[in-house]
């Protein structure tokens, strides 16, 4: 995948991912109001007293939060429609960091972290472009995102490999039982130890081998297709829809970087 196509695909997918996140925030915005569960007057004591706390008091007021979320909508449409620029990237970066702080560091864990990686890559590309070489700038941004994405699979795989419960397949059954959609039915095929072990080893092997995706564009494509299935299964069993989109955003970067044939 050429760098320019990857950059455009990244912008469109990131806009879609952030749009879905923003619509979810708007849907549940009542919990962030003064009467809601996550009331800022309670949460503000997380922040050391001072100028930053006073600034956040202004930004996290009920009305300001609502307008902030509404403002994200046209910005994201602009990102999808005409692409990024420095001002837009700075706004998205600041907006995302503010939302992270508002949710005490994360609303949806890893998906917030990977979204930050994608926005940071976008911002990096825009900053390097100030030097006058858009192609180099996008290469820098895409490589940053690609490396973080590959690292996420690699670390996630190896950390599982070091756990005996993952190696014998028990961990998968335990996590599926505790998932938000309820325990597995007693007759579920996923309760079969041999299938749980096979599934665990398949995903551990695939995650640990993530760096190999950089060896060849075809390997990267197969890797991304498996990743697509993997993230859909994670959504299906654990409800983590944001993970699906947050990682899909990084696929153009993986495909573009593998096509640069750095290693062969």
């Amino acid at each position: 995948m050429p760098v320019s196509s990857a950059a455009r695909a990244l912008e469109i997918l990131l806009a879609l991912s952030l749009l879905l996140q923003t619509l979810e925030y708007l849907r549940i915005r009542q919990v962030l109001t003064v009467q809601g569960l996550w009331a800022w007057p309670v949460q503000r004591t997380d922040i050391p007293p001072g100028a930053v706390q006073n600034l956040l008091d202004l930004l996290f007021g009920d009305r300001a939060m609502h307008w902030h979320l509404l403002l994200r909508l046209p910005v994201l449409l602009l990102l999808a429609w005409q692409g990024s620029n420095l001002a837009l990237a700075v706004f998205l970066f600041a907006s995302h960091v503010l939302m992270l702080i508002r949710w005490r560091g994360a609303f949806n864990g890893g998906s917030d972290f990977m979204t930050l990686v994608a926005i940071s890559g976008l911002l990096l590309a825009q900053l390097v472009q100030l030097g006058g070489d858009p192609h180099l700038a996008w290469r820098a941004g895409l490589w940053y995102i690609c490396l973080q994405s590959i690292t996420s699979y690699f670390m996630s795989g190896w950390v599982k490999l070091m756990q005996p419960e993952w190696r014998n397949g028990q961990a998968m059954t335990i996590f599926l039982n505790a998932a938000i959609y309820g325990p597995l039915p007693m007759d579920s095929v996923l309760r079969k130890p041999w299938l749980a072990r096979a599934g665990a080893w398949a995903f551990i092997g695939w995650e640990c081998a993530a760096p190999l995706a950089l060896l060849h564009p075809l390997v990267a494509l197969v890797f991304c297709l498996i990743a697509l299935l993997f993230h859909f299964l994670v959504f299906w069993f654990f409800g983590l829809n944001r993970f699906f989109w947050a990682w899909v955003v990084t696929f153009p970067a993986i495909l573009a970087c593998s096509a640069q044939r750095v290693f062969w």
Partner: protein, 173 residues
């Protein structure tokens, strides 16, 4: 040269899994932890904090004892739908509430001797969660109380359950 650098990078990553270093903490590091992801998802089974709560109606007389309900779990369970891949706001909210319980358990573990847990933001947010959940189920409830229990599950179900903390009686009105 570039190949060697990449190899070195992934070897260093592996080394971080083997050699443990000191954990740096702080309020801003907690709030901005997204900048330092460890990418460890669902990595270890073990004790998981679960929230249990009970409610009581208003006292008939000031001197009467509170009549408590049974303990009920406040644990997210949601219906599944394919279209939720695009919009899953309530499920994500339920998940962040479960994360909040995990943060409270972690905060309690690190609480200094003699410190009051009620000063913790996580405690105050969980208290609000408990009262709101109880009032949803029992609109007339006046008081609530919650427990954080550490639950160890096996492949066939519960293996062990220990109560980590029990809150004072919370006014839920």
């Amino acid at each position: 040269m570039l190949e060697a650098l990449f190899l070195l990078y992934f070897l260093v990553l592996l080394a971080t899994l083997v050699f443990k270093s000191r954990i740096v903490t702080g309020p801003w590091l907690f709030l901005l932890r997204a900048f330092f992801p460890n990418w460890k998802f669902f990595h270890a089974t073990g004790n998981v904090p679960h929230l249990y709560a009970r409610w009581a109606m208003p006292k008939a007389q000031p001197t009467a004892d509170l009549q408590w309900s049974d303990w009920i779990p406040i644990f997210p369970r949601r219906p599944r739908h394919l279209l939720h891949v695009f919009h899953n706001a309530q499920t994500n909210l339920a998940l962040v509430q479960q994360n909040l319980v995990e943060h409270l358990a972690a905060d309690l573990n690190h609480l200094a001797a003699g410190a009051d847990a009620r000063a913790l933001v996580s405690y105050q947010l969980v208290s609000r969660l408990v009262c709101q959940s109880l009032q949803t189920q029992q609109p007339d409830c006046a008081y609530g109380q919650f427990e954080v229990r550490m639950v160890l599950d096996g492949t066939t179900g519960l293996l062990q359950e220990d109560t980590m903390m029990r809150s004072p009686v919370l006014p839920c009105r």
